[in-house]
Amino acid sequence: MNLRNYTLKIWRQKDKFSPSYLDTIQVKDISPDMSLLEMLDVVNNHLITINKEPIAFESDCREGICGACSIVINGIPHGKERGTTACQLHMRHFEDGETITLEPWRAEAFIPIKDLVVDRTAFDRIQQAGGYISVNTGSAPDAHSMLIHKNAADEAFDAAACIGCGACVAACKNASAMLFVGAKISQLAHLPQGDPERKRRTNAMVMQMEKEGFGSCSNTLECEAVCPKEISTKVIAELNWEFIRSINN
């Protein structure tokens, strides 16, 4: 196997109070079958053995579904491969000798924690504001008592595929969360179960989104380009439509 060497330029930051800087690290003998995160594992294991602080970065499932990984790779959230999370990006996509720059998600609403790790609890708070259907356990009718058009179910699913990683915010020059919020709104707006609360839900989620400090959408569509689940910006149009409906009773 042809092993490869790289130069890494990595954003280091001790905590939210400390200044950040780009650290340069040379890595050798990397297999093209490794994922980018496995390459970072190799770097970190080495740093630990020489008693240097390893690079803090997030990951959990490492199969592209949990949404934990969050690295801007050479200027692009999750890297240049379309529809791919950082954990599913393999080193075969990088040339031998390439310089790879790794940075965290950067947005006012995402507060730095350490190195490549940021606080994304703003997303949780937006969903707590209204991203649910009010149904208590045990009160549901039989699942087949309600027919749902296959197209509606499929559209709801396409929006629900959002993994909440925040790449859309990191890619946006306004640090807007409209793709994320749009996906959540769109999922429930397409389903009859979501109808009774649709106005209240949209209003509450948009208000919380504003409060968290996310910017507005100016239709550059970078978010769609970097979304690892390829959520369409159609959901932003739907969000705008739902929002107008929610204020004009």
Partner: protein, 636 residues
Amino acid sequence: MINPKIPNGPIENKWANYINNSKPINHANRSKYHIIIVGTGLAGASAAASLGELGFRVSSFCFQDSPRRAHSIAAQGGINAAKNYKNDGDSVWRLFYDTIKGGDFRAREANVYRLAQLSVKIIDHCVAQGVPFAREYGGLLDNRSFGGSLVSRTFYAKGQTGQQLLLGAYSALNRQISAGTVKSFPRTEMQDLIVVDGHAKGIVARNLITGELRAYTADAVVLATGGYSPAFYLSTNAIGCNVSATYRAYKKGAFFANPCYTQIHPTCIPQSGEHQSKLTLMSESLRNDGRVWVPLMHNDHRSAEQIPEQERDYYLERKYPSYGNLAPRDISSRAAKQVCDDGRGVGPGGKGVYLDFSNAIRRVGKSVISARYGNLFDMYIKITGENPYDKPMRIYPAVHYTMGGLWVDYDLMSTVPGLFVLGEANFSDHGANRLGASALMQGLADGYFVLPNTIAGYLNQIKPGLIKDNDLRITESVDTSREYIRRLMMIKGTKSPDYFHRELGKIMWNDCGMARTESSLRRALSEIPKIREAFWKDVNIPGSDMEFNQTLEKANRVADFLEFSELLCLDALKRNESCGGHFREEYQTIDGEAQRNDEEFCHVAAWEYKGLGNEPVRHQEQLKFENIHLAQRSYK
């Protein structure tokens, strides 16, 4: 003998009788009770939401940055329910029967029957929450088939059923957080269980951002912290999955049941090198359309398309004609190992078998296959760089799920009063082998429907709010945890926690993996303490414990795996039979199937901790099969 407290009466009526005879807590008094729930996967999130709806005060903890990232999210294929929407003869009884048989007659009948009954309500509830299950053109829900069953009862949302169900539970949790009944503590990891006068009264937890350790007191503690697959280092589990919460509860008196029951999933992407950090599952649903085969000839190095039909061995179809490619997981995994050990495996090192879609693509077309499995095929392409539309996938078994867990009674309460255990973290429903699409079902049944009805039985017996945070016994447990972390930080050796984890994994996979023998287990039992000793001498954790420190988090978890794995191997050594995922080479039928020993081992082994270095005590819960006749499992 330990008593599971199974209600009397015919199996169909046990749960209804139980509820009729239970005494709910008065609505006005519920907010006096504080309940801690650790873990926010399907079981933990659904329990927190449901208890919050009832009016209890709930604190919900997870180590991830958001409750939505718990590992339930990675479940792909589906969730079973005995709806019989397909009119193919399904029923609560059949789901019960399939699950008991699939678990190789090592699960508790009463719990499994209740699970099958509740399965129906889960689907109703999830649909009401807005979970976008797959539908047919008529607007009704679609189903597919999974292993170990002859009927179609699996509900699904493409290849990400786990994520959609978890987002449903997470939305219910969010609703309660917003209502103020649930308080959420993300990035807060349980360090220890607090036991006062024999009752679970809280936890010590570490804030992973600041490093702050503190006690949280409660009237009951619920662990929904998942399984222990990463004891094998490489598994399909997430990087953060760990045994620490359940293992530390075990050290505080909760019995650990059947730790040797581990599931090796047959369809995972083979390992590509030493650097590998995890293995990736390819959903069992692929076996609806994919055919598993290897070359008939030994060491056949031709590529798949060069091997003519008559020189292929579709070994699952050959050995199990009635279930074929949908044979249960333990049986399919073992069959893959047998053909690879026989020198007929494919790919690097001969560690792989083909999963071939060419027939299905010819039959129904590429677009239909893409609609069914598109995202799984894409994932395969990303990882391997090969295209399964053109050539067969290569797959190999990998550790995926653990059926063992903390022992619980019918109420889901452990041997420590006030400590409840849900989902994969308990042991009760899957016996020695879990059927596909049953983990999601169990997690949600436990959290939405079982615990909210059983916890009152305990709460009625105690006075709420007895223990205060400044109680000396509480501050002592914080000091003990602080001292433990200080000891880890002070080692200042030369190796990373990963190094020791990987070493442990090699032993576990080779000596306690798909096939186990008395001698391999004895070898493991002598090697594990050596690695543990080396770890406590030579691990290095840079930085401080009073900051965000991922190396410390990892070391903390690896330290527990290094103790727990010994228990796993010991349990495997003492169970002198083969059943489900526990295959002892000494005990097999002439055609290589698992040979149970019902005379001596028709029981649950529940282990009691007696201090590190001392052999734990093996208790037994006798399993009684009053409704299903104990039989040799056959899928032929």
